[in-house]
Amino acid sequence: MATEQPTPAAAGDQTRIHNIGYRGYDGPRLGRAYARRSLYSQSLRGAYGLGRSAKTKVLPMLLFAVMCVPAGIMVAVAVATKADELPLRYTTYAVVMQAVISLYLASQAPQSVSRDLRFKTVPLYFSRPIETADYVRAKYAALTSALFVLTAVPLLVLYVGALLAKLDFTDQTKGFAQGLVSVALLSLLFAGVGLVVASVTPRRGFGIAAVIAVLTIPYGAVSTLQAIADVQDSSGAVPWIGLFSPITLIDGVQTAFLGATSGFPGGTGPSTAEGLVYVLVTLGLIAGSYGLLIRRYKKVGL
């Protein structure tokens, strides 16, 4: 590599490019907090395929579009028919679109964490200023933000459309705010569950299947049991069964506290007391996911 040697500066006015050899770095080193922020923004952009290859943009962008199009159609219908309310409540939207949200999570949670595990890139992070907790927080926050964008933008479309259709401002704003709180909670919960599952399934494809399974199997089981309980006149059991799948948890929380209509069979959501249990379980799951992720990454160090 003789070309790398410092070249003595040529005399005179020649305009030539000189190899000036190795240059050190004396600039600022911004440390842990900056590294964590960088990892957050890189992961958030990555969750929509930004800064990655064109191929990786297709699925997240497609799902994002699929999330937004129905909202646009509803708005168009509401404006055209001069309806006095939107065809659907803000809080119901995410529950109706849960399959799309699950697909998005299943495709992006493994992308976010499994790659680093599969290609053993994790040690490179931890040989730098950031620590386990920084890595987990950055990844968790990034996926939560990505899910929030996915679920809140359609609500924004609905809200703007509702205002254009000159629906009642106070009503709409209240509904929109409730919807935002609901999808924020949903984003936190889903991101946590998705990341935990993805972080223990480093193998490609397997993580995607595992996330889908964790989201849909409990939902299927819960809905079936709820339906049976409802038919068998033990509708008191319906809210308690709903505690066992992520989407019904969110449904219960928003029915009890955010003025949503429940998607449960019979339309009977949890009461306020039961709703409190829903909130506690939801928060417990979020905290538990975070704790599990920290534990997982303590082990993978160098």
Partner: protein, 320 residues
């Protein structure tokens, strides 16, 4: 650069490091040991990622137990295993890693371009890493360890999996990290021949204990052997023999290089200093022979291992 003081690391079943006390100065230092000798454990502790069971260690004058984050900001680490995602380009990957080390975005990009050029990656740096050869991947791994201009780098088995040419290039690169870049290096290997050529100092550990620490020249220069080979002429049909006799006459003992390539044509003699080279030159000129080669045959570090093995066996024998 690095100082440890009776550093120990015990796991429930094994003792990875056993009261290790070493002092590593600037320059290129080789850390030698068989698999499981405690090399990786030592690096982990030095990066502040794993607490020592007892004893203390300092890197760049910072205590590893309390200043881990500061140390990791100024130290680079190249792992032994594969650690590169195949679907991004070397440039993207190294820029990201530079930012993880705390470099602002613009500086991260500039340093990445510089560093990749210095490790010998040019146009291919824009292609996904998945298509790289092992040698190129090793260069990317090295680049990510150097991109933040650390004061010290830990290289864990950097020549693993490389062919002889790639190995030589990597060793040359490691040498330049110190001579041209001014970055000190701690490089682990189990191939002693490599370290002999690249390192200023060698630290040998075995079973978590320090076996020996000294400069490479101490290891290899106690006795320098000179190998010479000459041509034959009409006057001296057996040139080798003629030289041997002539040297004998001057009081220099010469051995046949039996067991070496070109046995019978190679003479080995022990140098006593500069004057030996002059003597050999004069003798050969006087005889009118051509000198085919004259090279130093240094003792290999592996002989240290043989010696210590013998000592250990002896010690065990005494123990019985």
């Amino acid at each position: 650069m690095i100082a440890t003081e009776s550093l120990s690391k015990r796991f429930p079943r094994v003792t990875a490091l056993d009261r290790l006390t070493v002092d590593v100065g600037p320059g290129v230092t080789g850390l030698v040991g068989a698999n499981g000798a405690g090399k990786s454990t030592l690096i982990k502790i030095l990066l502040g990622l794993s607490p020592a069971t007892e004893g203390r260690a300092e890197v760049l004058g910072l205590d590893v137990a309390t200043k881990g984050a500061t140390i990791r900001e100024r130290v680079g680490y190249m792992p032994e295993h594969d650690c590169l995602p195949p679907d991004v380009s070397a440039t993207e990957f190294v820029v990201h890693m530079a930012r993880m080390s705390g470099l602002p975005p613009t500086a991260a990009r500039e340093r990445t371009a510089d560093t990749l050029r210095h490790v010998g990656l040019y146009e291919e740096r824009y292609r996904p890493i998945g298509g790289y050869s092992t040698g190129m991947k090793q260069r990317v791994k090295l680049a990510q360890a150097l991109v933040h201009d650390p004061r010290l780098v830990f290289l864990d088995e950097p020549t693993n999996g490389l062919d002889p040419v790639g190995r030589d290039e990597m060793l040359g690169l490691i040498r330049r990290i110190h001579t041209d870049f001014g970055i000190s290096v701690l490089v682990t290997s189990h191939l002693l021949g490599e370290l002999e050529r690249t390192c200023d100092h060698v630290v040998v550990i075995d079973g978590g204990k320090l076996l020996r620490a000294s400069s490479t020249t101490d290891f290899t220069q106690n006795t320098t052997t000179l190998a010479i080979e000459v041509t034959d002429t009409d006057e001296h049909p057996d040139g080798t023999r003629a030289v041997r006799d002539a040297l004998h006459a001057r009081g220099v003992s010469v051995e046949d290089g039996s067991g070496l390539p070109g046995a019978g044509r190679v003479l080995l003699l022990t140098t006593t200093g500069e004057e030996t080279y002059d003597l050999v030159r004069d003798v050969i000129t006087d005889l009118g022979l051509g000198l085919v080669r004259m090279e130093q045959r240094r003792h290999h570090i592996s002989e240290v291992f043989k010696d210590s093995d013998a000592e250990r066996k002896e010690a065990v024998g005494h123990g019985n």
